[in-house]
Symmetry: D2
Subunit: 215 residues, 4 copies
């Protein structure tokens, strides 16, 4: 399982979370990555943790003030990027162009979507992975794998019908190791989580609890 901790714009210490994530990944052998704000990618990557961008813009080099250039996040140390998170929905054509941008600098890609139909659409664009996150469950602590297991299996089916090489992750409400195991049982090969770690009093303990059942 791949565990991606999305720090969003939370008031956490990104270095503290990153350091904990790097240690927990080392100790457990579970792949754990952290997606900080773009301005924090460089110091987060310097902790040694696998570092992801939360988003990149569809453009290449050029006159694009305020964009988040794929080359810049890669240069700062990111090895992957999320795209089309429900808090940052993109135009279909921009998802396609952003995937091409990621490809230019070998960033791994996860395209998020709301439901199996959109997961099928996202998979057709050829990302490395898709992630199904029902918006109504984000931040609730009720994991999608319990609240709506059919949406996870539906996403796995939709993606595999379109492109069998695309991994399916799931997110929304995941906060325990048990949630990750359920997601895995439903066919997901990764999870996206956020507040469960980023807002935890002790992010390291939260991460240790999360990966514990995976060993």
């Amino acid at each position: 399982m791949f565990v991606l901790v999305n720090l969003k714009a939370y008031p956490c210490d990104p270095i503290e979370v990153a350091t904990a994530a790097a240690d927990v990944a080392d100790d457990s052998g579970v792949r754990v990555a952290v997606a900080p704000q773009a301005a924090h990618i460089e110091p987060v990557a310097e902790t040694g943790v696998e570092t992801w961008a939360q988003h990149i813009s569809p453009n290449g080099h050029g006159s694009h003030t305020g964009s988040t250039l794929a080359e810049a996040v890669a240069d700062a140390g990111a090895v992957g990027t999320m795209l089309n998170h429900s808090e940052n929905r993109l135009k279909l054509a921009d998802i396609d162009a952003s995937l091409a941008a990621a490809d230019r600098v070998d960033l791994e890609t996860i395209v998020c979507a709301n439901n199996p139909e959109q997961i099928g659409a996202a998979a057709a664009l050829g990302p490395d992975a898709v992630a199904v996150e029902p918006p109504e469950l984000i931040g609730t602590g009720t994991p999608v794998s319990k609240a709506d297991p059919d949406i996870v299996t539906g996403a796995v089916d939709a993606a595999s019908r379109v492109d069998g090489d695309v991994d399916v992750h799931c997110g929304a409400g995941i906060s325990t190791g048990e949630d990750i195991v359920s997601a895995s049982d439903l066919g997901a090969t990764g999870v996206l989580l956020a507040s469960g770690v980023a807002k935890a009093d002790d992010p390291r303990a939260a991460l240790e609890d999360l990966v514990e059942p995976l060993n």
Copy 2:
């Protein structure tokens, strides 16, 4: 073949084009529809021509000032809607929600896209049809079926791999009946055109020339 004449925001007389299109459809037996500005749907529909919206918003009834409600365009006489035209690109989630909105009032749907990958993505959302329109050919008079036939066959392949029930149309640069025949030969079952009719000195003659080789 289905011929959809998109009036965009052109300075044409929508009633003149609509009347001509209705007559040409009647005389030729070819299915010809017109997509005017939302504010012109009612008078255009009153000519008897098959009338389409250029776009609908993803929302349902409610507090959505400035939206283009599916129910309102249907009520005014539209029987179909384009979505995600290259001049009006939509978020993936909004294409999905707009398709659901169209479904509520039985509007037929065509989702436009740039290339075969995006056509596959659009097809995964379950519209009635997709339309491939390379943006660089729009308005050029160089038909996509000549300039880039592979993009049409690629679109047909991409759509059929995802959902065999989704029709594939093509657009961009189409202005003659011969262009339509080529599109049909490549597997398209409809064409989108705009300036070739809307900017013609004599829209009726332009339409007659267009459908002539289809009989």
Copy 3:
């Protein structure tokens, strides 16, 4: 006082509201206008009521599929347009360009904004009027003139400092004639209202009650 009834995307009968508004305006001498969906502008205008658009796009004639062209809404019978409603926020540059578009076809303009600072900004662009609508009060039935009178007087001050010729309207939560009188006492020369009329069981009675204290 100017009373603008915004029908948003409500499931009301626009012709019924328009007919009632036309009659109430005639009987009371109060200026009452109705802003329907773009697709309903023509039939609404045919009732004889003063008809407004809820929004226009910044573009002129041309290749702008899915836009709401100023010329089209004017042609359908609109004599004014709202811009930048809180449910349809626009880019600063697009408000400016939409005002120029409205000017081309002599549409009267009201630019909405959240607070006195934004009202000052809107006034600097030279619309006919600005309207202050705190988003948190929209649809509540608690009128801005009671809940937050300072925001109305602040808006009047901000607009007059920038351009003394710009009228100030107010909206959000207005549903009674008394609310309109309070708005007038605070310096507003018009009100925007929506659900109070559009969702009323008897829109005609609601409008009669609204204008009654203005005579």
Copy 4:
């Protein structure tokens, strides 16, 4: 005069430009700042140069994946931010909210705009400075101060009518020290430039030439 070098998404070495800018500022006493990609703010700030963000999002802390949080760019070393650049136009309400976000962390602010009307609007929102940049001159090498001096004096007038405390900068086409002197003569207190330095073969020499006439 304040000289802000916007690196946009150019394929330059941000550290090389930043180091040169820091040195030139030290040697000349002219205030020179650099605005890199968000992911490069931290290493650019570490050179000692005054560092700006190209953009910040309107949100505060919270669930805002893919946003550019004011706190994050400040934490990485930015002391100011541009907003509403013509390549990144913002909604009026978002400019207002982004200024509030900048205020939370004491970022200095420059709001860009196209013309004197929009400059007046931007000034009404209370930024530290506004910058007038006619989009048609950006990247041309023809300075706005020569091509269209009236737009600079018009901007200075528009801003001072609304708020005398707001500085006026100008941009677009500025590439020589003489251009900066002309801008200053027209009432601007700063300039924005980009390709003239970022695309120069020798950014240090370009910066030295720029500031030379200012001493």
